[in-house]
């Protein structure tokens, strides 16, 4: 008996720790989304192929993505570990890996920011605490300065090149999947993970750091479309609004507005958790969306957050709307059809409601 009782709780623990780890990754990125959007809009507008090409303003693009955004991530990562002091050393350490790198060092920033802050925290909690009151400011400032500076040097000489290699290898992996037309397969992982509330971890922790390398090179990245595509969720919610159980039919229309227009995807996860087979509709919808995106070579300049259709269209590069909209529409249609089939076009719901009525002593309407 204990075995069967242990299994789900272990699975829950695993899920909670993956969520927690992913939450930390996303927690470094998400407070800075505004800066990502600023960068995405400036890129979409002012690069040579943009809406309003402008050489002077286009010069903002490179420093923003190579320095500002990684430093913000490192700063926020440091702050999560050790408050304001951690944030400062996190930012300093990030400069070490970001300066001179060919690719935007988002993954590197997620590593060295918290690491530098952790070192400072260890120092503060051991040596720093024993310092006499009159010398506290002196020691605090110099310990932060020395640890931050040392981490920047270490980052520039050692950590940076390694992380740059890893970032490039991962980017090449995505490119390989894209070239081999295998990218739709990632939906098999992404959609179920999303529904387990790993959506932010997947998008902001993994896909968007990969996409930014791509986007900095070519002005757009398909990685930004994989998780935020509101199509699969929309299809499922429409199917639930028509064919779901009574409670789902009542709430799904409101959820559609919040999900598709407002970009809060979380709202459809509980419906899938309640009827897990619906995940098949999400996977099929997600995969067909990615397929359409890759056929039309669609991409976004920056990560749309939240994943609202408005946010997606705002960061779509000039000339890219057709491919992006086609992918969203197709994924919604596919997930709607599969979800409708899985819900047997409402036959189960109607049957259950009739049984309920009979159980309550009501009359049977046929």
């Amino acid at each position: 008996m204990t075995k069967t009782e242990d299994a789900p709780s272990r699975a829950h623990q695993l899920r909670a720790s993956v969520q927690r780890f992913g939450g930390h990754l996303a927690g470094m990125v998400m407070p800075n989304i505004g800066a990502f959007i600023a960068w995405g809009l400036i890129t979409a507008l002012f690069i040579p192929s943009g809406w309003l090409p402008n050489a002077q303003l286009a010069e903002l693009v490179d420093p923003m993505v190579k320095l500002l955004l990684p430093i913000l991530i490192g700063y926020t990562g440091g702050r999560l570990v050790h408050g304001q002091r951690g944030a400062v050393v996190g930012a300093v350490a990030t400069v070490g890996i970001a300066v001179g790198a060919d690719v935007p060092m988002f993954l590197g920033a997620m590593l060295v920011g918290p690491l530098a802050a952790l070192l400072l925290k260890l120092w503060d909690n051991s040596v720093g605490e024993k310092v006499g009151a009159g010398f506290k400011m002196l020691v605090d400032n110099f310990s932060a300065g020395i640890i931050g500076g040392a981490m920047a040097v270490l980052g520039s000489l050692a950590i940076g090149p390694v992380v740059e290699g890893i970032t490039k290898a991962l980017g090449n992996g995505v490119q390989f999947l894209l070239d081999a037309h295998l990218l739709p397969l990632v939906s098999v992982i992404v959609e179920p993970a999303k529904v387990l509330f790993l959506n932010n971890a997947i998008n902001h922790g993994v896909l968007s750091p990969l996409g930014v390398t791509h986007s900095a090179e070519s002005g757009k990245a398909i990685e930004f479309l994989i998780e935020p595509n509101p199509g699969p969720g929309l299809g499922i919610l429409v199917a639930l609004a028509l064919f779901g159980m009574k409670a789902a039919r009542a709430t799904a229309p409101g959820a559609i507005v919040i999900q598709f227009l407002g970009g809060i995807h979380e709202i459809y996860f509980p419906y899938i958790l309640a009827q897990p087979r619906l995940i098949l509709a999400a996977i099929a919808g997600g995969a067909s969306g990615v397929l359409v995106f890759s056929i039309f070579d669609a991409g976004l300049t920056a990560t749309p957050s939240p994943g609202s259709i408005f946010a997606i269209l705002a960061v779509t590069p000039k000339g890219g709307w057709f491919g992006v909209l086609a992918g969203v529409v197709i994924s919604a249609a596919v997930s709607f059809i599969i979800a409708a089939l899985l819900l047997k076009f409402g036959r189960d719901a109607r049957k259950a409601e009739r049984e309920q009525e009979v159980a309550n002593g009501g009359t049977v309407k046929s």
Binding site: R15, Q19, A26, P31, A201, I258, E266, F269
Partner: protein, 102 residues
């Protein structure tokens, strides 16, 4: 297992993964319902729940993470973001008195 009297609830915290999306939506819905009873409703990331919260609400899937940082505070899970019975229960406890336990 902890519990709290409805009348003692002054600050409700809605937690979600990032504290910027679904929790904001739920918090603004609940704030409207609890306004007559002068109960404040805020939203935070689930890893960063403030200590002065009287009651914490989050999606079921995030319960384990929320409990990790809340100590004795009552943490209730909801399944659906829209029209979950837990929200009615919370409003009823605050309006009519009665205790909430997790």
């Amino acid at each position: 297992m902890s519990s709290i009297e409805g009348s003692a609830i002054k600050k409700v915290v809605i937690a979600c993964d990032a504290g910027m999306g679904s929790s904001v939506m739920v918090a603004s819905q609940l704030a409207k319902r609890l306004k007559p009873y002068s109960v404040s409703v805020t939203h935070t990331p689930v890893n960063d729940i403030p200590e002065d919260a009287d009651l914490v609400l989050c999606q079921m899937t995030l319960l384990a993470r929320a409990r990790k940082s809340t100590g004795e505070t009552v943490v209730l899970g909801f399944q659906s973001f829209l029209g979950d019975p837990v929200f009615d229960k919370v409003e009823a406890a605050i309006r009519d008195g009665g205790s909430l336990a997790d």
